[in-house]
């Protein structure tokens, strides 16, 4: 492929310079390293990442607690997750990730509940361990069918020197049920990302290979799916394909997951990871400790789905390979019909993305399937390995922005005028005010699933409804237009 018109590149480079000129010198220098125009053929995106955000710039990032409670632990349905500390963190994250699950909430499952130790001043002054003990006792009294408890630490816990590990051990013994202490205080690390890592470590140390997992009978077709949080039912729209091709999904982390599925995570023949950023750590651990291979896959859009199904099947025998082909053949007519319906309406449109640690690259080909070009992309909390993985998804001259600030994003959108922006709730309304269509790509904007073939149909419908809504042509009063 020929490179993009050099004028476009120069224009985008000038745009970066323009944006940087608004900052105080020191911050401009810092931010410059996070912004780049991609040169085709380069092995990475040419930006620095996973670095502390500058104060005062309106970063879009969240914290370690959000990474642990919000992302990794929150969806795990038969355990009770304590937001340990003051009321706010649990309140703002209550039921916001849309991790669907089956179960009787408040009886055997607890995902859409806000469980907190609601720290008061005395807990800060005298320490929160005594209260935590009581909280755990009361959880067992209120919810006797729970399979265990996790302690999701908020900022004060780590600052006042509480010993939640000691409480966890004591209470696990007393009640005969698992208690997992997680040190995910929001001040740790530079974003959600360290929270994912800490949560992975907690899974490794307190859960993996424990419980009844030793008795579990395995088959040669067992896989564990890792890093699918079942947002809007994503994991179900993925599971249907894997089961259909003949695999047995013995655990799915952590969307709609139970403790038993986490504990037997080391029993698969292969670990399949979707969200690499949030759960690669545990895959690497299982590879080292148990010799379980792992592979990344991508269930966004028919091109990547078919590619992934075949790549997964390659790791198994002919039965599974035939299964993959059967599944692709079964769903290809659906994919073709969806493309026939929407591609003509979307062909040639341009989109900009800014999401967490996976989707800024993983959804690129799903947009490509629909004929939509990605002209800018970036991550809240990616590391350099994510930007390397991004390089082959994006085209020459794509604008890349790491840990973008509200100021930068607004300017980029305003100057580049994409036909669609995919980002989060904090970016949604300001973008729409500018007259630019928007879809939330964290929560799927209350839609979904977007994974799998069933999900791609929803994805295509949603992008079309955002871009082709009649309202965008009406946002100027006729007497003011022109």
């Amino acid at each position: 492929m020929d490179g993009m018109n050099p004028d476009v590149k120069a224009e985008r480079k000038a745009l970066i310079e323009e944006v940087l000129s608004a900052y105080p010198e020191k911050t401009a220098k810092k931010r410059a390293r996070h912004l780049n125009v991609y040169d085709e053929g380069k092995p990475d995106c040419g930006v620095k990442s996973n670095i502390k955000s500058a104060p005062g710039v309106m970063t879009i990032r969240g914290c370690a607690y959000a990474g642990s409670k919000g992302v990794v632990f929150g969806p795990l349905k038969d355990m009770v997750h304590i937001s340990h500390g003051p009321v706010g963190c649990g309140q703002y994250s209550w039921s916001q990730r849309r991790n669907y699950y089956t179960g009787t909430t408040g009886v055997d499952t607890f995902v859409t509940m806000q469980i907190t130790s609601d720290f008061q001043e005395r807990d800060i002054v005298f320490g929160g361990d005594k209260k935590l003990e009581k909280v755990i006792d009361e959880i067992h009294a209120m919810f006797p069918l729970n399979k265990g408890v996790s302690i999701q630490s908020e900022c004060p816990v780590g600052l006042i020197g509480d010993d939640i590990e000691a409480v966890a051990k004591k209470k696990a013994k007393e009640h005969g049920k698992l208690v997992v202490p997680v040190r995910c205080e929001g001040f740790r690390g530079v974003s959600q990302s360290l929270g994912h890592h800490i949560a992975n470590d907690a899974v490794r140390d307190w859960m993996l290979g424990k419980g009844k997992s030793k008795e579990f009978e395995t088959t040669p077709y067992d896989v564990v799916v890792i890093g699918d949080y079942n947002i809007g039912g994503d994991a179900w729209a993925s599971r249907i394909l894997l089961e259909d091709m003949g695999l047995r999904v013995i655990g799915l982390w952590s969307g709609d997951a139970t403790l038993a599925e986490i504990e037997r995570g080391n029993k698969g023949k292969l670990n399949l990871i979707h969200c690499y950023r949030s759960m690669n750590y545990i895959c690497r651990h299982m590879e080292e400790q148990y010799n379980i291979p792992w592979m990344e896959y991508n269930f966004f859009g028919p091109t990547q789905i078919a590619k992934s199904l075949r790549a997964i099947a390659e790791k198994f025998d002919d039965k599974i390979k035939a299964g993959a082909e059967r599944v692709i053949a079964k769903y290809q007519p659906l994919a073709d019909a969806v493309l026939a319906k929407y591609k003509p309406r979307l062909q040639g449109r341009k989109a900009m993305l800014y999401v967490g640690g996976l989707r800024p690259r993983h959804v690129a080909d799903a947009y490509g399937d629909l004929g939509i070009d990605i002209i800018g992309t970036g991550y809240e909390f990616a590391h350099s390995d994510d930007y390397q993985r991004t390089a082959h998804y994006i085209k020459d001259a794509t604008l890349v922005y790491d840990d973008v600030t509200d100021y930068e994003l607004e300017k980029f959108i305003d100057k580049m005028r994409p036909d669609l922006v995919g980002s989060g709730i904090k970016e949604k309304y300001s973008t729409q005010k500018m007259g630019v269509p928007f879809r939330q790509l964290h929560s799927w904007d209350y839609s979904g699933p977007y994974h799998g073939y069933d999900g791609f149909a929803v994805f295509a419908r949603d992008m079309d409804m955002a871009i082709n809504s009649p309202v965008w042509a009406l946002n100027k009063a006729p007497w003011k237009a022109a």
Partner: protein
């Protein structure tokens, strides 16, 4: 295969398809290791019993589904109502992300806020450098007219001194020496978002009032308090002020910032109380608050400055609005005009037209203390019977005042007041002593699902219905809107119930 390109099914329909139901079943049987169905059914019944309720009310440490947020979000809301003001969280970076999301999900509007992005090193050495750099960046990038600093946990636990940090930031040239920076310590482990509102309001007034001489005038300041309907209620209060021709200033006016138009440009700042008016507000004769428990410290401060003060409890409906208007009239010396009397008459008219559908129905209500008080008072006027009245952030004085309110009307006889309780307590109350209806925020949808008591969505936050905040809840006109909201739910519930047989499924009601 459930999906077709012709009519695409999303999560709402897709997962009811037999193919997916089969997957759920297989997953449950083979992989989940969940308790068996009988055990689950037994526990599901048990949590609806009086015995469980007693256990539930014996909780001393565990909080489940509280109806309150933390101080800083209230502080940020308060700051957003001032001209060109940028809220600044001194704390970890996740806090501001949460506050912004929370406000955006309710108002369906952008919510700008910066943070000082404190991390582990700041926890050890303090957040001074974060403040110095943060103020410089925020000032350069976002060009505010004022920055309003509040704190989150980390800064409070390690004891950062905002005043000193801001002085040092000025010395280091982060911001001009005369640039207004208000600051409030807003620990999340004290009080709730309503206390944060109060703290920020007091800090903004202090910033403009301290060190200045007060020349007592005839104006009146009005404080709205933290309010999910602040947009429309601010417009109502301004209409009332204009209709009376009163010299009155609304302090923290969020009517523009949380309701900006879509016309091609994003307004990070819009409207708000002019900073000049905040300075002048020192000279006012009086400061009155529409929400007592959102403004205790602020009113004490105004009183210290020599102003008269008065507070109300979310004035909604007839009596409470009457009280407010007469007070405003007395303080400003302006008569209540005929146009307002007509609005009153229209609300009375509407209540008379609809009374038979509300009279004698019981209503449980939860939310912020002032809201629950104001809502209860209005229900009493409608001939409804308040049942369980719960405020997670309501205290002893609230409880006392609520009991006095209930005692003031024969319709209040069966009302029970629950201070400091959460929505899991409310679940037990509704399961064992159900009311006909429930009034509160979107969180109540889980109560509606579990207990079958229909939820009337009035409160904060409203996440799952759109644009309610664009309509008022306070005063006569707000009362009308609230009345209609209640009636719609009542009629919908009756239609739901009667459409099964068709008997009583009436065209005209």
């Amino acid at each position: 295969m459930p999906q077709t390109a012709l009519k695409i099914k999303d999560h709402i329909d897709l997962f009811n398809d037999p193919e997916y139901l089969e997957i759920f079943k297989r997953k449950r049987e083979q992989f989940e290791d969940m308790p068996d169905a009988e055990e689950v059914a037994k526990q599901a019944d048990y949590i609806n019993t009086m015995e469980y309720r007693e256990k539930n009310f014996a909780r001393e440490a565990l909080v489940i589904n509280p109806a309150k947020a933390c101080q800083p979000v209230g502080a940020a809301y308060c700051a957003a109502g001032f001209e060109g003001t940028l809220a600044f969280t001194h704390g970890s970076l996740g806090c501001a992300a949460y506050f912004r999301s929370h406000l955006s999900r309710h108002f369906k509007e952008p919510s700008a806020m910066v943070c000082s992005a404190m991390t582990e090193d700041a926890a050890v050495f303090g957040g001074l450098n974060n403040m110095v750099e943060g103020l410089a960046n925020a000032y350069a990038l976002y060009k505010p007219k004022m920055i309003a600093v509040h704190t989150s946990c980390i800064a409070e636990v390690i004891g950062d001194d905002l005043n000193s940090f801001i002085i040092q930031s000025r010395d280091k040239g982060s911001i001009p020496t005369d640039f207004p920076v208000a600051y409030a310590h807003t620990p999340s482990f004290v009080g709730s978002h309503i206390v944060g509102y109060d703290n920020m309001m007091k800090s903004i007034l202090s910033n403009f009032w301290e060190g200045k001489d007060r020349k007592a005038g005839n104006g009146v300041n009005i404080i709205g308090g933290f309010d999910g309907y602040g947009v429309a209620n601010a417009r109502e209060i301004k209409d009332i002020i204009a209709a009376m021709g009163a010299d009155a200033t609304l302090l923290s006016d969020v009517s523009d910032i949380y309701d900006t138009p879509a016309d091609g440009s994003y307004r990070m700042y819009d409207g708000g109380t002019p900073l000049e008016a905040v300075t002048k507000a020192l000279d006012a004769k009086a400061t009155i608050s529409l929400q007592e428990w959102c403004s205790g410290k602020t009113l004490d401060f105004a009183k210290d400055k020599g102003q008269e003060v008065a507070s109300f409890n979310y004035p909604m409906g007839l009596g409470a609005t009457d009280d407010f208007l007469m007070k405003l009239s007395a303080l400003t010396g302006k008569a209540i005009p005929e146009s307002i009397a007509k609005d009153r008459g229209r609300l009375v008219d509407a209540i008379e037209d609809s009374l038979s559908w509300i009279h004698g129905k019981s209503f449980s209500i939860y939310g912020d203390p002032d809201f629950v008080y104001g809502m209860t008072r209005f229900i009493l006027e409608l001939g409804g019977e308040p049942a369980h009245l719960l405020s997670t952030n309501g205290g002893n004085d609230w409880e006392e005042k609520m009991k006095a309110l209930l005692a003031s009307s024969p319709f209040g006889a069966s009302g029970q007041v629950w201070k400091g309780k959460d929505l899991w307590h409310m679940r037990s109350l509704l399961a064992t002593e159900p009311s006909d209806y429930l009034i509160g925020s979107s969180y109540g949808k889980y109560l509606e699902k579990d207990t079958g008591v229909p939820l009337i969505r009035i409160g904060f936050p409203i996440f799952d219905r759109h644009h309610h905040h664009r309509f008022p809840t306070m005063f006569y006109k707000g009362g009308l809107r609230v009345l209609v909201t209640i009636l719609d739910k009542i009629f919908d519930t009756i239609d739901e119930k009667t459409k099964v047989t068709g008997i009583s499924y009436d065209l005209t009601r």
